[in-house]
Amino acid sequence: MSSHVYPKEKEIFPGLQLEKVDDRIMTLNVGPQHPGSGHMRIILKVDGDYIVHCDPDPGYVHRGEEKMAEYRNYITNIPHLERPVIHDSCNILYPYCLGVEELLGLEVPERAKYLRVIAAELNRCVYTQYWLAIYGIFLGHSTMFMWPMGDRELVIDLLDKMTGARVTHAYFVPGGVRNDLPPNFEDVCLRQVNYFEKRLKEYADIFYDNPILISRTKDTGILSREDAIKLGTTGSVLRASGVDFDIRKKEPYDVYEELDFQTNVLKEGDSYARSKIPWLDMFESCRIIRDALKKMPKSGSVRVKLKPNPKGGDTEVYRRVESGRGSLGMHIISRGKPQPYRLKISVGSFRNLIAMPHLLTGEMLGNMPAVYWSLNYWPVEADR
């Protein structure tokens, strides 16, 4: 590894160097145009069938979100901040809105808090279904690609009714949500969520109890509890390794404290456990949505009115939420201007990246897709 360290004399450009050819070790590029990899390259070194070195190389979809945020004010930052993960856009805007509300001292109306929770949980299902579909096709299971993609439409349809857009909702704003529910939404939502949950149960038969899936994912890529903590992994990766940590429970934001749900924890730490946790979480999301629909105030304001160009004080906040891929934190530094002085986005995908070389080194090449995608990694989000 020492030959890769920058700065180095023989480099053509920083990070770009010529490598000596070895007869035994073959370098294999996975991505960046791999259909499932999602614009992310993993540089593998293989000895026969075994991976001896793994070097993840993200950055193919780096958009400079953090830099862009420094030029736009607190409201105009909303639409571009959801781009890193458009099918979980509510959850990526959540910490931003919580942080800006803390900066500006805004009190969110009660009904808006429930609407946010419903939108965030629906969005979590949309994300997880997409992820699950790709996990299916990674393992050569085309039915598992079709089913989640089809059932995802049910939830997208609900979000479409709620926010007016299928994927890029821009629904959350500092001080509440953009608009109230359309008439009769509660009944439609309840009906579709119940049917969605019924469909989820059928995934057990075709996927999770499937001996082919079990033989491919059980006991591959085992991440021990100690390593999961030490490497600072988050979300489903952490919970599959036996650590009970969900920010919705540990540091409840908005109304999660009042809602009835549980955290799913598995002890195995292998790819099978990691693939199962997001699926189990979707049942909890359905529970949360039903509970929130019941407890939500039936009327009232959904947004506090903001003055044009609101300015924060000379302070900073760090807020985090549980997104589909784990903890999503935003560190906002304000220096009395309408724009943030610095916005640092800390995403679950980027934090789980460190587990990739840890798990893939020593693994067989054929297990690479099963381990890689089980890390609940979304390349676009990691690049920001």
Binding site: M1, S2, H4, V5, Y6, P7, F13, P14, G15, L16, P58, G59, H62, G64, E66, K67, M68, Y71, E102, L103, L104, G105, I229, K230, L231, G232, L238, V243, F245, K250, E251, K307, P308, N309, P310, K311, G313, T315, E316, V317, Y318, R320, S327, G329, H331, I333, G336, P338, Y341, R342, K344, S346, F350, R351, L353, I354, D383, R384
Partner: protein, 180 residues
């Protein structure tokens, strides 16, 4: 929409909401290290500013005695008027249930040069990778985005930027986006 229309809302003082645990955490750090500045103690959020010579000792103390075990985020901030670049480590705990809500921000500053030569100038900080292995990718990102070289990090390579990026580190304030 002129700036005269805007109002500045001053945040109310929330020091009454801070718990005893918040205070005891900050007290134990300030008792142990006299040069450390406790920047603020808010509910569940503590910020500690340290000198770069001391950061290894303070970080080891935070890990071993206060049981913070992983880094949530590592972000660099450029302060051109102070001629300094700040790196903020947000640390959290999975192993200690009483600390699961808490985030401890550990901040340190490196000198900033007007003409940066990443890796070859005085903008160097000690790496916390040996204490918190979870910072390794974050520090790599910080190196390319702000030009802070982490001494002791074995892998100060490009991460997100293109390999042939030949401009200054983009998160510095003197790097301007075109047309803005």
């Amino acid at each position: 929409m002129s700036s005269a229309d805007s109002t500045e809302i001053v945040k109310t003082d929330d020091s009454s909401l801070t718990s005893d645990l918040d205070k005891s955490l900050s007290d134990s750090i300030s008792k142990k290290f006299s040069n450390v500045e406790i920047a603020y103690v808010k509910p569940d959020r503590i910020r500690v500013n340290v000198k770069k010579e001391e950061i290894i000792a303070v970080a080891s103390f935070i890990r071993d005695e206060l049981h913070f075990d992983h880094a949530e985020s590592v972000g660099g901030v450029d302060y051109p008027e102070d001629k300094q670049i700040e790196v903020v480590y947000h640390l959290g705990s999975y192993t200690d249930p009483s600390l699961s809500k808490h985030i401890l921000a550990l901040a340190t500053r490196a000198p900033r040069e007007d003409v940066p030569r990443p890796g070859n100038d005085s903008t160097i900080l000690p790496s916390l990778r040996d204490i918190f292995p979870s910072v390794s990718f974050h520090e790599r990102e910080c190196f390319e985005m702000l030009g802070v070289y982490f001494d002791g990090h074995p892998d100060n390579r490009r991460l997100l930027l293109p390999e042939d990026w030949a401009d200054i580190p983009p998160l510095r304030k003197d790097f301007r986006i075109k047309g803005r």
